[in-house]
């Protein structure tokens, strides 16, 4: 097998069937399954843990609560202001959704849905929609459009700056999707490369392969732990950046 095939097998989505609606084609794939799985997990686990009064679930309840309160006090409210509390549901869901999809990618036979550019693009598009929606809701449509260009800019620069700011909005969204996608697949690719080392060296001789194996496995273990950290970090970064962009759209000054 070539490395390319292995990579494609492990990282690229597997489409099992296509649903067609007119000219539009909707895939039913492994990443969609994983996304649905994480959605089901969240839909079942979160209400169950939050509403239960059992002491066995108390640590998990406290964990969810700590994360949610952290998002409220450190991410949403400082960026969005007092009115941001209404958006807390969006940010909490975003964080836990991305986190669950990231973690499912580390489960055996699982796949990383967030390691698919289409999925991250979808998430980034919802952020784009939220940013513009929140800005227009806060300032009014025309005021929002007028304030896209920063205050204090000479009038003659407006024709130049307005398109640049619009492009900036799109770029931010694009960067969001690329950042999450790249971070999630990078670890997988490195792990596959380290595993492949064993067989590359093994082709020189079985003894060399066995010699390299422990080093490779140790490195893979290290990268796995790093991926676990990155899974949390990238969920946080995506949420945090969404909050910053939304806050900037709501409060232009």
């Amino acid at each position: 097998m070539e490395l390319k095939e292995i990579l494609e097998h492990h990282i690229v989505d597997h489409v099992w069937a296509w649903g067609a609606l007119g000219p539009l084609k909707f895939p039913f794939s492994k990443h969609l399954l994983m996304m649905g799985l994480s959605a089901v997990i969240l839909l079942v686990i979160l209400p169950l843990v939050i509403r239960s009064r059992s002491s066995a679930l108390a640590p998990f309840r406290a964990m969810i609560e700590i994360i949610t309160l952290f998002l409220r006090d450190e991410v949403v409210l400082p960026n969005l202001g007092r009115k941001g509390a209404a958006y807390l549901g969006y940010f909490s869901t975003l964080f836990f959704f991305i986190l669950t999809m990231n973690l499912l990618g580390m489960v055996p036979f699982g796949a990383t849905a967030t390691g698919n550019l289409a999925v991250t693009a979808g998430l980034a598009l919802t952020t784009f929609a939220l940013v513009n929606f929140a800005g227009m809701r806060e300032q009014g449509v025309f005021s929002y459009l007028a304030h896209i260009v920063p205050k204090g800019v000479p009038l003659w620069l407006y024709p130049l700056l307005f398109p640049i700011e619009i492009i900036g909005l799109v770029t931010k969204t694009f960067a969001l999707s690329i950042r999450l996608f790249a971070n999630m697949i990078a670890g997988h690719i490195v792990i596959l490369a380290f595993i492949s080392f064993i067989f590359i060296f093994g082709s020189f001789g079985a003894a060399i392969g066995f010699g390299v194996a422990p080093i490779s496995v140790a490195l893979v273990l290290f990268i796995l732990l790093l991926e676990l950290f990155v899974a949390f970090l990238q969920a946080y970064v995506f949420t945090f950046l969404t909050a910053i962009f939304t806050g900037a759209a709501m409060h232009p000054h």
Binding site: K4, L7, E8, I11, V12, D13, V15, W18, L24, K25, F26, P27, S29, H31, L32, M35, G36, A39, L42, L43, L46, P47, I50, R51, I64, E65, T68, L69, R72, L88, G89, Y90, S92, T93, L94, F96, F97, N116, L117, A118, V119, A121, G122, L123, L125, T126, I185
Partner: protein
């Protein structure tokens, strides 16, 4: 490998749909009860803290009152002690004065007595002196009687007697 970076936009649609539904459902089923529980707890904490603060203020007030009362009692005590001391001082003065007066009276009585005794003694002495003087005068008078005269008188008397009675040889011749 181009499959890796070629997004399947059908999946994007699924993602948006899935995520939006998730936001709507979880906001109702998860985040609302969670935030409500948190807010209830925060309110309970706030209430408890306020209650504790008011209890503390109450305690402070009572402590202040007690302190004021204590100061008052202390002042009262000092006042009473002072008045008792002053009274004692006055009593002492009175007793001393009385004692002095009494001593003076006794002294006076003694002086009078002594005077009386002295006068008596003087009178007695005078009487004695008079007696003694008289006795002495008598003796003195006796001493002043001249023996020659006495003897001549005696001799004359004797001679007269001898003249009258010659039987008597009183002259010795």
């Amino acid at each position: 490998m181009e499959a890796l970076i070629k997004p399947e936009f059908g999946l994007t649609f699924w993602t948006i749909l899935c995520f939006v539904l998730l936001v709507v459902v979880l906001s109702k089923t998860a985040w609302k009860p969670l935030l409500k529980a948190v807010e209830d707890r925060e309110n309970a904490l706030k209430r408890d803290r306020e209650a504790a603060e008011s209890a503390r203020a109450e305690a402070e007030k009572i402590k202040g009152e007690l302190e004021a009362k204590f100061t008052e009692i202390k002042a009262e005590l000092a006042h009473r002690l002072d008045s008792a001391k002053a009274e004692g001082e006055k009593e002492k003065e009175r007793i001393i004065e009385e004692a002095a007066r009494s001593a003076a009276r006794i002294l006076e009585t003694a002086r009078i007595e002594i005077d009386a005794q002295k006068n008596e003694a003087v009178r007695e002495l005078r009487e004695k002196v008079v007696g003694l003087t008289l006795a002495a005068s008598e003796k003195l008078l006796e001493a002043h009687l001249d023996p020659k005269i006495n003897a001549r008188l005696i001799a004359e008397a004797l001679a007269e007697l001898e003249k009258n009675d010659k039987s008597l040889n009183l002259s010795g011749n």
